[in-house]
Amino acid sequence: MYDHNGEEIFVIDGHVHLWDATEGNITHEGGEEFIQCFYDYHTTFTPEERQWSIEEYRKYGAERMVEDLFENAAADMAIFQPTYLTDFYGEGFNTTEQNAELATEYPERFVLNGSFDPRDGEAGLEHLEELNDTYDLQGVKVYTAEWRDESKGWRLDDEAAFEYLEKCEELGIENIHAHKGPTIRPLNRDAFDVADIDDAASSFPDLNFVVEHVGLPRLDDFCWIAAQEPNVYGGLAVAAPFAQNRPGKFSEILSELLWWLGEDRVLFGSDYAIWNPDWLVEAVLEAELTQEDRMEYGVEWDLETKRKVMGENAAELYDIDIDEKKRQFREDEISEQFGLEDHYASDAPAAADD
């Protein structure tokens, strides 16, 4: 938990990965381009002394990930968002199965999301059921721009995608995280166009659609859709590290999000290992809205809003009881490993509930 002027803030990192981009796993030049592009984002928005080498970045492993997330209690829990990219990486870049290595070892600390791709047809629907049987999914991450043979992407409002969304409803998988980030490929189309979220969200009012990276560079389209669809949420991954070296921009982006979506529909995520919560959580929580933005937008980045964005909103979507978690973490394996028992024991409100 983050100690914010004596107030505790429970942090659920809504967007983490355990990936493998080692040369041996790359089967298409796109795989090398992809990790290099990620690395540019990493170095651009990471303080110089916290930057990794490209070798560390290709594969960091489960042990290091646990240390980065939990050693200093920067995060209390994290949600795995898989990215398959199996046309680029032999064993996949960051699949549900790869993430399950850690998620099943520390189920109290991780939420494990699955994934689907409507181009897999019937077999994909069966696979989603199997994933759900194995891991009891509450969410999926989808990557609409992923290449597959001749196809250069798909849309969430495709008929085929609707079949998958119906399957999610049936299986109780309520949270659909869609990656909507910078345009790289395919070439002439904008595969991360956010317009498909609109129809999907209004057609499936019982599902929640979390647009990762708040649609950047389509923040405008995203906010406009989210303002009209109450089941659309914004994931802060990519926007969050602006807090560190573009504080004025961070203030503007956050003000827009709070104005259009309100404080209940914005979720923190680090996109680990692109950025590391061990410094990012602090950068975001210590950031301030500029006086001009507070006046113009009439929004606040105050304790109550921070608690929601950093943890409570994700807890709501994933049925996480934060007080119960605090009790559990007084003696779980992670707290024992890093000597955090006292950190969680010192929480007065939770103790009063005993």
Binding site: T43, P186, D190
Partner: protein, 255 residues
């Protein structure tokens, strides 16, 4: 005083022409963004070297900037031919070959399914929306009411004091309000380019979708203009950052 060379061609003239080319995602001039690395003149042939902030910049956007550069420079009467060389881009070979041979985007990229027209139209729409915000802000500051602003037409504008002020005539030309011309000209340039404000009697300002603005929706439309600006400048922040980190990396490599 010595005049320009007899063919009238200078680097400055080429640069001024390139200043009309924008990064379509940021709606800022590629000259102001410092994407131009060099301009070479050789008789009637002009060679322009360009580097974008990142090698991963969308191929469609990179194509637009390179193709627009060629078109603009070739508008100069003294230029017979412009060659554009994009550097440090993952698709520089396809783009340089395609643009300099006058091919279309799908001819240059067998992977592409269509031209870049739809992407360009979408980015133009956003640029218009963002520019409208500044124009409307100027009018609000000059004291105009929202009902008045949504009812303005191009014929209500009149230029005074040379180029930098405009008069806006209200109440059957009984009242004139003077405002800075710059934000309104900048908006009108994009609105006219996209064919939305054509006749003198067309509504001057529009929703992002290109419809007249209902007075009740004025505030919301105005907020959407601000949002379009924040989106562009945020992306500008990402591009700046990516360029800085690439420059740092090149410095280290050259040390």
């Amino acid at each position: 005083m010595t005049g320009p060379p007899s063919d009238g061609l200078t680097r400055e003239a080429v640069r001024d022409r390139l200043d009309r080319v924008t990064d379509p995602e940021l709606d800022r001039s590629i000259v102001a963004l410092e994407y131009i690395d060099g301009i070479e003149l050789d008789a009637g042939t002009v060679t322009v070297h360009l580097t974008l902030p990142t090698a991963w910049c969308s191929p469609a956007f990179a194509w637009m900037m390179a193709a627009d550069s060629r078109t603009e420079v070739e508008e100069l009467p003294a230029v017979e031919r412009a060659r554009i060389y994009l550097h440090e881009h993952m698709h520089e070979i396809e783009i340089n070959r395609g643009v300099n041979a006058g091919r279309s985007f799908p001819e240059a990229f067998p992977d592409a399914e269509d031209t870049v027209d739809a992407v360009r139209a979408e980015l133009d729409r956003k640029a218009r929306t963002a520019r409208q915000y500044d124009a409307v802000e100027a009018l609000l500051e000059a004291g105009l009411e929202s009902e008045t602003i949504v009812s303005l037409r191009p014929r209500d504008l009149e230029r005074i004091d040379g180029d930098d002020r405009l008069s806006i005539y209200l109440a059957d030309r009984a009242i004139a309000v003077s405002v800075s011309a710059e934000p309104i000209d900048r908006y009108l340039e994009k609105a006219r380019e996209t064919g939305l404000v054509d006749a003198e009697t067309d509504p001057l300002f529009l929703t992002p979708e290109g419809e007249p603005i209902d007075p009740d929706e004025f505030e919301l439309v105005h907020r959407r203009g601000r949002l379009a600006q924040v989106n562009m400048s945020s992306q500008g922040g990402i591009c700046d950052g990516l360029r800085e980190s690439r420059e740092r990396r090149l410095e280290v490599a050259n040390d």
